[in-house]
């Protein structure tokens, strides 16, 4: 599963309900790495991706049991600042990001390839703010690293998921991106072809269960199993 | 006993030596840089001549014409190198025994005898770097003897030895020569060593054979 889901999924796997699904093994890494591993024949039964792109990529290659695919969770993109910071912003096309940044850059997950960065870039572009920061951002390896830069006060602003922001007391959510400013942030899950279908189904059922949804919610995700 | 025709031509030097000798005990004699060590190393199989033939005791060791070059390890020659070459990572005892590995026992040359005759008894547990010049020299001689060689190649073996030690080792080598008839190729600058150990002498100069003469004649010319 995508690394950003680790705390929540670890908890779900430890739920009493998970005992029915014996022998669960989890592997967390970047979605890209996981997708490539599956493509190369890794013996996995279920894939939970941090974005649609990699799930689609696998599906096009025939690795995904399409019927089992569903959206496990949703997330929101927010702008955070270091906790002591006093910036006030609302995100619209008039926002003065440069003024808020001063001479420091804004932290984003790598906007070309890391999901959180791709969403952030899309949102800034939609809002017409991208030109302001085009040369003023620092790209990080994943969204947690962007969060860390804000938490340590290195970057005055960072674009991260709400699920990350709520768990970090050293940052303050300054503003939420309008939901329509970027593609929906979803975590699709699906069983994979050619593997132990029954076990995969049991695990997917577990992910859909009410206790699992509660866990996801507690970690700042919006559970979306009902979709 | 030895038949040799060697050409070796690195930059700045030209070695072209050819001789044959029936003598079991031969010495190479000549000024510094005339090619003695090069020749000895060629016989040992450690310096490959550009061309030529080397035959020792009836066995052909090297022949560039037919591409033959017996590996040094299979020539069975005990070499005392001019520059010592003890194994620094082995104690004296292990240096002495290095050449015995995998070889049949030789009653004529046992460790105890050699060690005693070369005065190495107290040095067996020492590391080579702690040896004095003369001590290291004696260990090198012992190592060559104990490798059960079919012949000895001695490159200035007695250098750095003091009077008594020198005459003692010389007497020992002479005894070996007489008792077990170990063929010897000796390089030395000391005429008395040549006279004590060799039957025939090849005089070299600047990479060429100057003369080849019996040891009696060699001694006579010296005086």
């Amino acid at each position: 599963a995508a690394a950003s889901l680790k705390p929540a999924l670890d908890e779900i796997v430890a739920l009493p309900e998970a005992e029915a699904v014996a022998g669960i093994k989890t592997s967390y890494a970047a979605s890209s790495a996981l997708a490539r591993q599956i493509e190369a024949g890794a013996p996995a039964d279920v894939f939970v991706s941090a974005d649609l792109e990699w799930m689609d990529w696998l599906q096009q290659r025939g690795h995904v049991a399409a019927a089992t695919r569903f959206v496990l969770a949703r997330n929101e993109l927010v702008l955070v600042a270091p906790a002591p910071s006093t910036v006030q912003l609302t995100l619209d096309r008039h926002t003065d990001l440069r003024g808020a940044l001063g001479d420091a850059p804004i932290a984003l997950a790598e906007p070309g390839s890391v999901p959180a960065g791709k969403y952030a870039k899309a949102a800034f572009e939609r809002l017409g703010l991208w030109p302001q920061i085009q040369t003023r951002y620092v790209a990080t390896e994943n969204v947690r690293a962007a969060l860390a830069l804000a938490a340590r006060g290195e970057a005055p602003l960072a674009a991260v998921y709400r699920s990350d922001a709520v768990s970090e007391p050293k940052v303050r959510v300054v503003a939420a991106f309008p939901a329509d400013s970027h593609p929906p942030i979803v975590y699709p899950a699906a069983a994979l072809q050619q593997h132990d279908g029954a076990a995969a189904q049991r695990f997917l059922a577990l992910l859909r269960s009410a206790p699992a949804r509660a866990v996801l919610q507690r970690w700042g995700f919006r559970a979306a199993a009902a979709d | 006993m030895i038949e040799l025709d060697v050409r070796w031509k690195p930059r700045d030097f030209d070695l072209a030596v050819s001789f044959a000798s029936p003598a079991k005990h031969l010495a190479l004699f000549g000024p510094s840089g005339c090619g003695k060590t090069s020749l000895l190393l060629a016989v040992a199989g450690l310096r490959r001549p550009d061309a030529g033939r080397i035959r020792l005791g009836g066995e052909l060791l090297f022949d560039s014409a037919v591409g033959l070059n017996v590996a040094a390890a299979r020539r069975g020659l005990g070499v005392v190198f001019q520059d010592g070459r003890l194994f620094p990572h082995l104690r004296v005892r292990d240096n002495l025994l290095y050449g015995q590995y995998g070889k049949a026992a030789s009653p004529a040359l046992g460790l105890a005898d050699v060690v005693e005759l070369l005065g190495l008894t107290d040095l067996l547990a020492r590391w080579p770097t702690t040896l004095s010049g003369g001590e290291a020299r004696r260990v090198a001689i012992g190592r060559a003897l104990l490798s059960r060689p079919r012949a000895l190649l001695l490159d200035e073996p007695l250098v750095g030895l003091h009077r008594e030690a020198r005459s003692q080792v010389l007497a020992y080598l002479r005894r070996l020569r007489d008792e077990i008839a170990l063929p010897t190729l000796l390089v030395s600058h000391q005429p008395d060593e040549v006279e004590a150990l060799a039957e025939e002498v090849v005089l070299l100069d600047d990479g060429r054979v100057r003369r080849q003469l019996g040891v009696a004649e060699f001694a006579a010319r010296r005086n």
Binding site: A3, S4, K6, P7, K25, T26, S27, Y28, A29, A33, L34, R36, Q37, E39, A40, G41, A42, P43, A44, N142, R144, D164, S167, E168 | A44, G45, L46, A71, A72, A73, R74, R75, G76, L77, G78, V79, F81, D83, R85, F87, P88, H89, L90, R91, Y98, G99, Y101, G102, K103, W127, P128, T129, R143, A144, S147
Partner: protein, 229 residues
């Protein structure tokens, strides 16, 4: 103290690092010797290829391993019918660690062999030692310090390997989740920094142990030290 999961990760890391060195060492010695003693066409290209895992970001190496040793990989497809499978298996972590640390081992070993006095090898030859014995009894002991230095570097690198491992075999607890991956996961987790210090200490201790062991082994042959007055 470590949690059970952390202890498992440490055990996997140690197993992976030690095994990768054990497997790599014979090849590194052979290759180091060849690079030191032979001249052959394409030698610099070979050296550069060796260094490739250093020059590239580890993810790329992991990806390349996936292409080669995945189930459908060029080599993996051949091995699969034999029951040999690296993907998602701890042996894949060994392979990744091996590839990443191999250049360190080879280059150190080679520098050691370069420094050995060839006249001593010639002396051994004159005493009847064939190529094998010469190598084992002269060349190797005389380059012991460089070989050990290479082992320490390679062990440390293998122990700390992260990027290629997670790209190649992912992070499966009890199987491929090494200490490095555990540390990385902590760092990517809310509040994880708290547990970080402890794991960094563990890594430091492993590093100290490796250095000490190498120093101890080097000291076993005082004669092989550089000569001095």
């Amino acid at each position: 103290m470590l949690t059970a999961a952390e202890a498992t990760a440490l055990a996997i890391s140690l197993k992976v690092a030690l095994l990768s060195i054990l497997v790599a060492l014979p090849f590194a010695l052979a290759l180091g010797l060849a690079l030191s003693r032979l001249r052959f066409p394409g030698k610099s290209v070979l050296e550069a290829l060796l260094n490739l895992p250093l020059v590239l970001p580890p993810v790329v190496t992991g990806y390349a391993l996936l292409q080669l040793f995945g189930r459908h990989g060029t080599i993996g497809a051949w091995l699969a019918p034999l029951g040999l499978q690296f993907a998602f298996h701890w042996s894949g972590a060994v392979l990744a660690a091996l590839v990443m640390s191999f250049p360190l081992l080879v280059i150190s070993v080679r520098a050691g062999f370069d420094g050995v006095d060839r006249r001593l090898e010639a002396a051994a030859e004159s005493l009847g030692a064939g190529a094998w014995r010469r190598f084992a009894s002269v060349t190797l002991p005389l380059s012991l310090r460089s070989v050990l230095a290479g082992c320490v570097l390679a062990f440390a690198r293998a122990f700390g390997e992260f990027g290629a491992t997670i790209s190649f075999v992912g992070s499966i607890p009890g199987e491929t989740r090494t200490l490095s991956i555990a540390i990385w996961e902590l760092l990517n987790q809310p509040g994880g920094e708290a547990g970080l210090g402890r794991l960094v200490w563990v890594a430091l201790l492993v590093g100290i142990a490796a250095s000490l062991l190498a120093a101890l082994l080097a000291r076993r042959s005082p004669g092989a030290e550089a000569a001095h007055d």
